[in-house]
């Protein structure tokens, strides 16, 4: 049986159930790389130039850990998933970079997804071309794609309707078990955590930020818990038309949560992230305008845990005092 390897990094967090269903329906076996460790980051960083953003370094580390464990590695080039909004360069050139820096890698499955330029037809053709390695039967491809899409919809609705995080929904889908984060105690403050899923849910690179936040008694809301329309409105409010794919995860969520009832907003961004470097500025300016507590944390492979914890605690203390003052007033 053919084995397809999926690196547990970047878009894994929002699309894994869909990808897995698709390949399984085509009769392939799916393996994922183990969660990020120090080794993953080190081996990935050693291959690419230092300036490359942390998520891509991590991704390369995951590809390296898949070498010898599968027949193909799935590295799509997701160019755009809506009209006139493109992904950042690192997503566009991901397969080429992987080929260049991990030459020992098994053959890549690297479809180009470009809805803006190719339209729906191009999208279907790309999927079909991808599936040709497994089957000649177009009906089987259609069936697999439909099953994958259903699975993706189910996955998305879980986070949106039940208010759980992507990682929680992922572990529920994988093991059928609710993870420990469900049934959170009533808390002192609600914090919106914004950022891309591969930064928010990779516990190694963000030093278990989400859990720390919860331990400090915060209830956490994340971008994927908001409705799509709310996120779109957030983008419109802050910047007008979206320019980048996945902009709703930062700008949209920022715009939405800064105008909502949450007590504070924390953004986690990766050092060297092109889109976020400018978008976070927009969110920050908006936070100032509506005077909502806001903190942006930039992480890279050197982030010292203690510094991060100090900033987080200071932020929570600040919120507590603020609540006290507002209570008195």
């Amino acid at each position: 049986m053919t084995t397809v390897g999926i690196p547990q990094a970047l878009l894994y967090y929002q699309y894994y159930p869909m990808w897995k269903t698709f390949f399984q329906h085509l009769g392939a076996q799916v393996v994922t790389s183990p969660p990020t460790t120090r080794g993953t980051v080190t081996s990935g960083s050693a291959r690419v130039v230092a300036e490359t953003c942390l998520p891509v370094k991590v991704f390369c580390g995951h590809v390296i850990s898949l070498v010898g464990k599968c027949d193909y590695v799935f590295v799509p080039s997701i160019r755009s998933i809506e009209r006139d909004a493109y992904n950042c360069s690192k997503f566009l050139g991901l397969p080429d970079v992987v080929k260049a820096v991990v030459p020992e890698c098994p053959p890549l499955l690297d479809p180009d997804i470009d809805i803006s330029k190719e339209g729906k037809r191009g999208f279907y053709l790309a999927i079909y071309a991808l599936a040709r390695r497994f089957t000649w039967n177009p009906l089987k491809v259609k069936e697999a794609a439909e099953a994958a899409w259903q699975c993706h919809m189910r996955f998305q609705s879980q986070t949106r309707e039940e208010g759980i995080t992507l990682s929680c929904a992922l572990s529920r889908m994988e093991d059928g078990m609710p993870s420990d984060e469900e049934g959170v105690n009533p808390s002192s403050a609600t914090i919106a955590l914004i950022g891309h899923p591969y930064v928010l849910y990779d516990e190694y690179i963000n030093h278990r930020f989400l859990q720390r936040l919860r331990q400090l008694g915060a209830q956490v809301v994340t971008p994927e818990m908001a409705q799509i329309q709310e996120l779109d409105r957030g983008v419109t409010r802050l910047i007008g038309k979206p320019y980048w794919t996945y902009e709703d995860e930062v700008t949209g969520a920022g715009g939405h949560y800064l105008d909502s009832q949450v007590d504070g907003v924390i953004a986690i961004i990766a050092f060297g992230c092109g889109p976020d470097s400018v978008m976070i500025d927009v969110v920050k300016r908006y936070a100032q305008r509506v005077s909502k507590p806001f903190m942006a944390i930039t992480i890279d492979e050197h982030t010292a845990e203690a510094g991060l914890v100090t900033r987080l605690e200071a932020f929570m203390d600040m919120l507590r005092r603020r609540q006290g003052w507002e209570g008195k007033a």
Binding site: E51, R79, Y86, G93, S277, V282
Partner: protein, 366 residues
Amino acid sequence: MKVAMPHMGHIYVPLRTLFREVGVEMVVPPLNSRRTLTLGAKHSPEFVCIPFKLTLGNFIEALEMGADTLVMAAGPGLCRFGYYAKIQERILRDQGYHFEMVTTELFESKLMGVANLVKRLSNGAPTQKVLAAIRFGLAKLGTLDELERVLHQVRATEAEKGSADQVFQQALAAIDGADSRAALKEIKNRYLMKLQQVERDGETEPVVVGITGEFYVVLEPFSNMDLERELGRLGAEVRRTTFVSEWMKFSLFLNAFGLSEKDRIHQAAAPYLRRDVGGDGWESVGDIILHSHDYDGLIHVAPFTCGPEIIAQNIFPAIKTRIPVLTVICDEQMGRAGMLTRLEAFVELLRRRRARKGLAVAALVP
């Protein structure tokens, strides 16, 4: 109305002409300086690239001089550049400046888009006049680029360093002042001659160094710390892969007919990079392969945190047959001495490489 645009090389000369011809006053902010960069960097997001910071600095300096209409290219592209105008507008408004921001989608709208923009700024000058003005502006741009090409050659072998640059500065002033196409032609011939007459010395066949990379930092000497001039001083002949006039020719006219100057570069890059990654990353990879025989070495300039160029850099080591490549990253933490040392070492490496190649050929031929 006082119009201002950011600097990029000497593109302000044709732009000033263009606006003068249609009767619009243009404020040209001081050329990029440390002050421009400091002002820009102070108000910019920390990790944004240097073109953003410098162009923002230009806008601030122009607003200080009384500009009230800022013109900036924008629109969906694949890198941060398309977003500059929106973010810069916000930053400047937060600083309390009053102005109108006019953006043009240069890549989409072609010649007529630019013509319409100029028409709008000039309060409805006749289209005929606008087109003539654009044509005259482009002629000046072409002349500048032609002179600059010669300058690159002369610099490498001039006897007294800096004399070719003096001639070029005079030419720049003369071109700026030229008011008719006939005068422009006369100026061009005069200064081409003058450049050729600069006293030469030194190597007869200097090493050839190509310059490629991100559009803005290739073209704006302040952002790359006068890379071309320093290379010339070291006795290397510079071949720049990008000229504004050529780029304009294609983006304003020929692309509309489905001609792309870049097809050849993209084809060359295809074995290593199959996709457009935004900005100029694809071209950087292509240039290295395309020029592996006619250049001795290549300098790749990129702004710090530039996504497309990072992709290109990651791909360079995988390219098999290639000439030496030196990547120079540009940001506000510039150290001239450090860069000079690297350039000296690089040029020295190319010289030795060429000498060795010469020996190898001599050994083969009895």
